[in-house]
Amino acid sequence: MKSSIIKLENIKVSFNNEVILENLNLNIKEGEFVTLLGPSGCGKTTTLRIIAGFLNPDEGNIFFKDKKINNVPAHKREVNTIFQKYALFPHLNVYENVAFGMRIQKKPESEIKAKVTEILKMVNLVSYIDRDVNSLSGGQQQRIAIARALANNPKVLLLDEPLGALDLKLRKDMQSELKSIHQKTGITFVLVTHDQEEALSMSDTVVVMDKGSIQQIGSPEDIYNEPKNAFVADFIGESNVISGIMIDDFKVSFCGKEFSCLDKGFEKMSIVDVVIRPEDIKVVTPEQGDISGVITSVVFKGVHNEIIIDVNGFKWMIQTTEMQKENDKIGLLIYPDAIHIMKPSPYSSKIGDYSAFSDEFYNEQHKN
């Protein structure tokens, strides 16, 4: 069992009387790759700023290896940050940017030089050593920012959407590069992202946040297969979230039909949220299906088609490789292992169907 390196305890932050983070508890273990995942404005950057020491919480404690560090200023914390917008020093060249931390520590020039070269090799930018940082592309600047933080030998590396500005291909490359840097150095990584795929593919632990509080902490598999509430189910991947009634263990009713499932331990005859992933639904003829509806749209996505189906006014999403036509009537077959049951949460009634993808859009459409 690895020991804790960063611990946040009952953190509360508010700006101008508006609560931004509330009752935040997080325990990060040494060497772990943790991802904070959540929609824009949910408080991810704020959480990182508390760990880095740029922001003092109104309430709560921060521990570094079980030592309280609330009052330790940022420049004395053994934590380095890769900022959302790089924040390279524009008056210094690549070499001096990477060397900055070591210069502050008054390391000898020979050591600095060796380290800078080593780290630039790691991020594939040695040939850029004398370049003016303003002349680099976004991706290169990003890698310099990573190199600059790594050169300081941090115990914990905080990465605030480090790949946000990169195109898809470079993003993938950088993801595996970061992953291998993590494995090589053994540094604890705390990554912020709003890209769920990135979170699932890179981390040991995913922390899903919304509106300033943590919704779920778990391994990528747990988060995906066993979301705790409608928000997590909706945010991680695509999912159909339907309100249902738990009739008995292994028995749930929704859409006017009874289904068998693998979940148990819920109160009998209680209201629950039922999650069904679009890729787990089988398309059949209307007669064969558990439920049936009319296709309202078919979108080609490359690997599969994304189909929206209107089942008595509720829009379901299905991902299938089969060809389907709009306005056709089809049946949906749902097997027990496709069903995941969750306790209702404040999100239950708010997470809509697939009339729209984002909440803003949905709320706008359903006004009045």
Binding site: A74, H75, N80, F83, P90, Q105, A149
Partner: protein, 273 residues
């Protein structure tokens, strides 16, 4: 080369108010009273090298004082809350709305032998100070008048420095002092350089301040030029020549400044975003 139509008014303006006068100055500089080509003016102007030197020294001292006072002022203003910043900048600008002459007259009445300050000293039983008509008074007048031109460009640069860059430096272990010496100061160099230029140029060439607070006893270039055009020894040829030399000196100074500036030029572009 095609010239855009919208540029025409500016080109005409430049022609009438900059190019033609400069050409005239150059022409007069190399002309003697008999309107024939000569280099006598340059030799004549050379006799006033003491005056040139004195002007440059007084200008330089004023500029340095403005920088020493202005930088911390700009820094402090950039640190307070935004609404106070606007208020402080207002305070700085308000005196500039009254005439420059009037403000210098005010200093005369303060510094005079029978002025307010000396009256106060006498009232307190202290000996009177001899303040007016000294180089010190001239420098005081210049610092007072030109200080805003130092503060404003530095302040403008300082407020534009990205907070994230400062946080990045702290993150890498820099304390407040290191953040200042390694980040804030180097990034504010373009502001310092334009501040120096904006103070040094008028300081070297002014004549009103030296005349009013120096009582005419301390001759600077500005006075010298004025004398050639308005005084008894009317000699616009020599006046033009001295002006030309002054212009060249200032251009050399600006060139030196700009060469320092180009080193930090990209910085400015970056922080302006």
């Amino acid at each position: 080369m095609k010239i855009k139509l919208s540029l025409v008014p500016y080109i005409i303006w430049m022609l009438i108010f900059v190019i033609i006068p400069v050409i005239l100055i150059i022409y007069f500089s190399f002309t003697d009273i008999n309107k024939s080509l000569s280099f006598d003016n340059i030799l004549e102007a050379g006799k006033y090298s003491q005056v040139f030197l004195r002007s440059i020294i007084i200008g330089a001292i004023s500029t340095v004082l403005c920088l020493i006072i202005g930088y911390p002022a700009a820094y402090l203003i950039s640190k307070v809350k935004l609404k106070y910043q606007n208020f402080l900048i207002m305070l700085l600008m308000i005196p500039m709305w009254t005439s420059f002459l009037l403000r210098t007259y005010a200093w005369m009445t303060l510094l005079e032998y029978n002025g307010l300050i000396n009256k106060l000293l006498v009232f307190l039983g202290l000996p009177r100070l001899n303040m007016i008509n000294t180089p010190g008074a001239i420098i005081l007048g210049m610092v007072y008048n030109f200080l805003p031109y130092m503060i404003l460009p530095i302040y403008n640069i300082l407020v534009k420095i990205d907070k994230k860059i400062i946080e990045a430096a702290q993150d890498l272990g820099a304390n407040k002092f290191k953040v200042f010496t390694k980040i804030i100061f180097p990034l504010s160099l373009p502001g310092i350089i334009s501040g120096i230029t904006m103070v040094f140029v008028p300081s070297v060439s002014t004549f009103v301040i030296s005349k009013m607070l120096g009582g005419g006893s301390i001759l600077v270039i500005g006075d010298l030029i004025e004398m050639q055009f308005l005084g008894n020894n009317y000699n616009p040829y020599l006046g033009s020549c001295i002006s030309l030399i002054l212009m060249i000196i200032i251009m050399i100074c600006m060139k030196i400044m700009n060469s320092l500036d180009t080193q930090s030029n990209y910085t400015e572009k970056r922080t302006k975003k």
